[in-house]
Symmetry: D2
Subunit: 324 residues, 4 copies
Amino acid sequence: MIKVSIAGGTGYTAGELLRILLNHPGVTLESVISSSSAGMPVAGIHRDLLGETDITFSDNTGHPDVIFLCLGHGLSRAFLNENDIPAACKVIDLGNDFRNDPVFGERNFVFGLCELNREQIRKANSVANPGCFSSSIMLALLPLAALNKLTDDIHVHAITGSTGAGKKPVSTTHFSYRDNNISVYKPFTHQHLPEIERTLKAAGNKVLPPIQWIPMRGDFTRGIFASVYTRWDNLMSETEVINYYKEYYKTSPFVFVSDEPISLKEVVNTNKCLLHIGFHNGYIHITSVLDNLLKGASGQAVQNMNLMFGLDETMGLRLKGSVF
Amino acid sequence: MIKVSIAGGTGYTAGELLRILLNHPGVTLESVISSSSAGMPVAGIHRDLLGETDITFSDNTGHPDVIFLCLGHGLSRAFLNENDIPAACKVIDLGNDFRNDPVFGERNFVFGLCELNREQIRKANSVANPGCFSSSIMLALLPLAALNKLTDDIHVHAITGSTGAGKKPVSTTHFSYRDNNISVYKPFTHQHLPEIERTLKAAGNKVLPPIQWIPMRGDFTRGIFASVYTRWDNLMSETEVINYYKEYYKTSPFVFVSDEPISLKEVVNTNKCLLHIGFHNGYIHITSVLDNLLKGASGQAVQNMNLMFGLDETMGLRLKGSVF
Amino acid sequence: MIKVSIAGGTGYTAGELLRILLNHPGVTLESVISSSSAGMPVAGIHRDLLGETDITFSDNTGHPDVIFLCLGHGLSRAFLNENDIPAACKVIDLGNDFRNDPVFGERNFVFGLCELNREQIRKANSVANPGCFSSSIMLALLPLAALNKLTDDIHVHAITGSTGAGKKPVSTTHFSYRDNNISVYKPFTHQHLPEIERTLKAAGNKVLPPIQWIPMRGDFTRGIFASVYTRWDNLMSETEVINYYKEYYKTSPFVFVSDEPISLKEVVNTNKCLLHIGFHNGYIHITSVLDNLLKGASGQAVQNMNLMFGLDETMGLRLKGSVF
Amino acid sequence: MIKVSIAGGTGYTAGELLRILLNHPGVTLESVISSSSAGMPVAGIHRDLLGETDITFSDNTGHPDVIFLCLGHGLSRAFLNENDIPAACKVIDLGNDFRNDPVFGERNFVFGLCELNREQIRKANSVANPGCFSSSIMLALLPLAALNKLTDDIHVHAITGSTGAGKKPVSTTHFSYRDNNISVYKPFTHQHLPEIERTLKAAGNKVLPPIQWIPMRGDFTRGIFASVYTRWDNLMSETEVINYYKEYYKTSPFVFVSDEPISLKEVVNTNKCLLHIGFHNGYIHITSVLDNLLKGASGQAVQNMNLMFGLDETMGLRLKGSVF
């Protein structure tokens, strides 16, 4: 059994990790770390876990085989500085500290997009888990990037659920504001752009055109719906492109191409990403949906763990969708 | 024109007052008071008012004919102590400071339930506006209380929208928590019980049976749905009771008895209260809906103002419902 | 008083018209037509109107000064064929029958976008009310079109509330499907494109570039949030453009430019359209919000009526927003 | 492996069964029956199953070891009449046909409330799965009934999600109506009352007092929140009662007593039922939450199947909650 510790144990992504790992047949929980809540039952904070675990929060890492960092962006590096994590202990960072700046001492963080870097992840001892928005956009574009087919501005609107904003209540996550509301934030300037650009280049699109991206706040809790289009040269037919996408993701157990239009809830509470592809006016249009807390965060992190430890990539991740 | 000032100008009830008063033909805004936001445009906080007013927040009361206190419970008394409000200036308190403890110096606050105290309010210079929950429950029971017909335990479940919890973001108003969720709070012990009990007695029910009330948090923003029942002696027939309710509220321009079952959104964004009455198993069952920010707060406050200044009771309050 | 009839009286837009017109000081209701519900109280269908009107549905038009057609797309022409509407009776069509094909016998329908065609509307006896989506997009672009500044592909994502899909329950308006869900429909091919294109050309943009538009279904009831961008030559500075927009809409009482980012609920249950303008990466980005049932349908229809009868353009349309 | 067929394969409860059974290690799907959709992929209707199954709908039962009937209330009896189900094939009915009227030919349906009838279910070849509302209310009261402690009127308000109303779109499940709305239906007369009453008597409460129950429609998709109270004689202390409840459900792997107040989403997308117990004014107050489609329908049905086939009661039912 793999011994797992989780740093930043009270937040949303840690809660999702716990919900997955408690039913994962290959792991035991070594430590759920929260200095502020040390000694309290984990189910006292993640209230839905009542009856599923008696574990309490701890103030130290224990002796894990792998530690997940769920600390909030910018805090992982400090954690590694302050805690003496043995070199043999693998690290999976759910923050953005090592996505674009992968070196920390002897550790070199592999970017944990399984669909691109599966083989490197298998060998990695440190993984930087991709962002939720970036996962949805990268998975929409990865096959085109692999063909070097991204040649003109890439247009993206992507709308996220409120859990992406984390647990701390703020004005834009106030129910009275958010319910039945829609807004835009950080238009054209979202912090996930660098990791998307770097990844699409790494996938094979040597000269990447600009990504024009409008992130939006949706009035739902879970999920990201990304709508992406770029000019298409029509050198491949529609059928060829769709078949190519299906082939590209054939070895990826969680990414599927739908022949029918998709809606967000088809993936909520699963580790899946669904794609749908259409062609209009000389553009290729890809819609992409995933659950921001699962395939966009904790689910993908466990998928990375499975790869890093030589387990079946899907272990513990065949989740019943909530659908409704 | 009546000169109006509003203390506590940045909160939800102040915003609603502004939305009503800006279209009210009988008033001018003298001052919207917020020491923290003094000098800033009111439409900078209440963002929907863009294009409707250029007024800015002020740090003083000005010289109003009436001042609305929107300060949060427990702060009105302090405000009156700290500010020298002339005796000629009328006061309408939306907090709970004077509902059960009506005396402040020379001022004696009339309980501002128009449907019961219309005549006293007309003559009042100080009014304590009822609570939102209590308004919905009192209006359901007032006609029975007037007949001294409340003789056995009164059973209430009442579910409120998130705006009742105010503007400050907290864990129970976090969208990620509240969306699609239901919970109970303060069961059997809500702080509105004393004003309800006092009022039903004042209405004529000399010995009031206990009120067993479960308040609930709903996953909507506006409105209260109250479901109320108590044993019924059947000395009056169903038709007699329904006709009596209609007669009782005949002179009240905002309370109506529906022959059909009602739903919450039939009153949202209006100053109306709708009631529906049924009889089963020896009980009389009354459902009651109102908008907590309007008939349950700012709308009722303006209705009180209209009465206090001899205006038509409905002036400025014939609002288009949002319905959907 | 203007005598008003409404054809198709049981639908959503007719309901909204009624909610506005019952408080409009310049009109009386002549007839609310529904052959299927003739004789029934209007408040029996539009349940929120309980206590506000005793009018019943009628099976004939009566003798109105103006008739609003709320019949559903494609049915207005048939209605005019089947009913003998006198030439002196003005017609305002909320369907799409006459937007792109304006001639019906002697009648020549003016396109009812007040902000562009105010003077023609004043003289018109027949008006084709714009679509909801198109209103939000046209108002975002009208000032640029007037300068002939639309020179490159126009990129639009616009997300609509469920009331845009009408009253009949279908799978995509089922609460179990729609709640917390997002989907795309008719990408690049929405039927409002022709009226948008025709209007922007009429406004002054002689050669219009293609509009690449992804309509989306949102999980809210009211409103449209449109996010629109196109390349910008930077010949005018940001400040110049923003000031020009403000100047352009100075005479339009319901369109406002916000210096701050906007959210949908700032306009819900009002007749306003708010715009916000930003500049990034060589693009001008305009967000636009309006209530699809008001500024996008019934509110704009009343605004047109006001113009056609020489009333103040805002009469009956200063509505209290619901905000929350 | 147990061969499973599902009759009525296109509805909500069948979809949930599929989501559970596809990950259940002890079963194979024999047939998902839908005469209208025969030959079509199951994932064409239950769209979220894309990538998880290639099975198609069938027009016949195949040769299953157990058949789940998901046919809608009143249709199960007809199905058994029209189809020749061998005596050796077990039947689990999710409709209400056999809950109060358990005999069909040689079959005698055991009422499938695992917490009460676990041993009979283990031996049963036919089970009538309880209703969703009744499950939430029975689990709240079962321990008291076992002590014969229900002696005075039982007061219940229980609010359900929209999925309880099934897949067919109707006016009360229209998003434009349901969103942000609350309503009451069938007050005091819901059709689940007989099965609740019969069960509480069977549990040991020989003379059952009346249940006064107001069912409500909530604006969420999944779950039931039941708030239940009845007079309490105080012969047992609060601690004794709470400990007794915990002891009572000790052998039930999905029912838990929370020391803290509970909210609906703590159980959504799980097979759990959470209870919270309080004491006020001489009443015992129990809140109870479960997912209407899981512990209230398909989850409980699989739990019954597990018992009937001698499997671990929790097999396939340790589901990751959606929580948000």
